[in-house]
Amino acid sequence: MTLKDIAFKNLRRRKAKAGFILAGILIGVATMVTLISLIQAMTHDINHKLEKYGANILIVPKTESLSLTYGGLAVGGVSFEMQEIQEKDLAKIKTIKNAANVAATGPMVLGVIEVAGHRVLLAGIDFQAAKILKPWWKVQGSNPGDNGILLGTDAARVLNLKMGSPVKVNNRALTVSGILESTGSQDDQLVFTRLEVAQAIFGKQGRISMAEVAALCNACPIDDMVQQISGVLPGAKVMAIQQVVKSRMETLQHFLKFSYAVSIIVLLVGGLMVLVSMMGSVRERTGEIGIWRAIGFRRSHVIRIVLLEAGTISAIAGIFGYLIGLGATKIAVKFLSQGDVLVPFDPQLAAGAFALAVLIGIVSSIYPAMLAARLDPNEALRSI
């Protein structure tokens, strides 16, 4: 027989009251878990969509430029001391702190070629990386092999080339292996080939004109990644295509703040329910507390019994609150998101929900416990 036994047996006897307290905390925890899990799921979903969106960081050669004005009139500018980017340097991106957030790095070499009397821009790219960087691309035919090219819609029309058409570029015989469906971007006017083929054509082996990076950086600001990449590529200029990411992250941040506010309100209400219920319980048990005190229970023993009861209910509410919250999130994401959005078990959130539930239960019961401990045993016994 211990204080714990007394607390547990009382809870078993007063199931309705215990159930009421349990419901108060459980609803609060479940709401909090649902909202936070929902944000996590949506963040994951947005990350996934950002990945589909493609590149969001550009790496271009660093140049020193000088703007020329005369009498307040801009008359142009000159760029000088352009530092070319070495292809091998891109490997350094894998060493940055947020390397895990880099989904793909796409080197690109650009140059002007003449085909059938037309000057067009040839882009040498990594077609594997392009799958991530340009997921909206739809190719009729296939991606080019060692001697192939891929034409943008407009380029194919202007150059009057079809799939399988032979093309001679700088005395190198190439074949049209595929045509890109219209993208509505400048890609429609370009001719694409493999990176090493373009480098060979332009005599730029090992060098690139620019690189695109698909960065999934929800947990960290995209600016941090830009800085980190700038650190490892001091000779390059790194820029973030920020607008889309920023606006989405801002939306998420607003929702996160809203969720915290709602969670705090619901948990406060839960705490109040615990406080009121425990006060009622202490009043109902005045005589019982008088008996405890008469037979030698210290005030601290009475406090421990009350807090043990509250702590036990809260712990149960914490566990079930998390599970219910997780279940509710799984249902909610089906309505709020298209496609499969994962809502995995999050041990940190589970531990947090459990700890918060116990904390609320105990903090809300401190006053009733003190009230119980302060009861005059003589008065308490008279109430029987």
Binding site: M1, R12, R13, E288, A294, G296, R298, N378, L381
Partner: protein, 250 residues
């Protein structure tokens, strides 16, 4: 020096015009192993006296000492320890915890002690054996009779072997036969060395005590318990006459 001493105890409830004096300068001494009966009319102050002796009710002035310990000089928590070590309470309405079994109720005073649960159970079963209830250890209070509940209350009061047993109208809720059994039990415990202090209205019960303290208007004086024999016989005679005149059976 007496084992238990009350020195000039005063107890006043309320303040100003509403003040009620429950004890007026009460002093007495009791020896270890005494069996005391405190009698008096309702409102005479006997329950206040018992609660002060049980370290439950701080007197307005005066001292209450047990084994030379000034009980009301102790801090709140120390007084709780004093109650656990020195006092066994037997309440009129038994005051058992309804959701605990008989043996668990008896184990209650041992709950806060740092001894193994199995040892606590052995001690509780031993106490239940002394009141003849070993066979009902796992029942709930609601599953046993009033007399048995009083026995459980006695077992709970003696389980930690306190030197003092305080009983408040121990037979108040029992029929005369069961009441007599309870009083026999208290006498046995007294014969085993326990100091028993009992508050009662019942002359029959008071006759079990070796000393009688009578209270009236907050004051206490000692009477010879032999007088109770005469009072009891007189009372029995009056009841008999009254029944005869009413056409009943004496």
């Amino acid at each position: 020096m007496s084992y238990i001493r009350a020195e000039n105890l005063m107890k006043i409830y309320g303040q100003g015009e509403a003040a009620v004096t429950a004890l007026r300068d009460v002093s007495f001494g009791l020896e270890s192993g005494d069996f005391i009966s405190i009698m008096g009319e309702s409102g005479s102050g006997k329950s206040t006296m018992l609660s002060i002796m049980g370290a439950l009710n701080t007197p307005s002035s005066g001292k209450f000492l047990v084994e030379d310990i000034d009980v009301y000089a102790l801090k709140q928590e120390q007084r709780a320890d004093f109650r656990r070590e020195f006092v066994g309470f037997i309440f009129q309405s038994f005051n058992l915890i309804p959701y605990l079994t008989v043996v668990e109720n008896v184990m209650l005073p041992l709950t806060t002690l740092n001894i193994k649960s199995s040892k606590k159970r052995v001690l509780a079963l031993d106490a239940l054996g002394r009141v003849g209830l070993s066979n009902k250890a796992d029942r709930l209070p609601s599953q046993i009779s009033g007399g048995e509940q009083e026995r459980v209350a006695i077992a709970r009061a003696i389980v930690n072997q306190p030197p003092m047993l305080l009983a408040d109208e121990p037979t108040g809720n029992l029929d005369s036969k069961t009441g007599a059994e309870i009083m026999d039990l208290l006498r046995q415990l007294n014969e085993q060395g326990m100091t028993v202090i009992m508050v009662t209205h019942n002359i029959e019960c008071a006759r079990y005590a070796r000393r009688l303290l009578r209270m009236a208007d907050g004051m206490m004086h000692e009477e010879d318990p032999v007088n109770l024999m005469a009072q009891a016989e007189c009372l029995a005679g009056q009841v008999s006459v009254a029944l005869k005149s009413a056409g009943g059976v004496a």
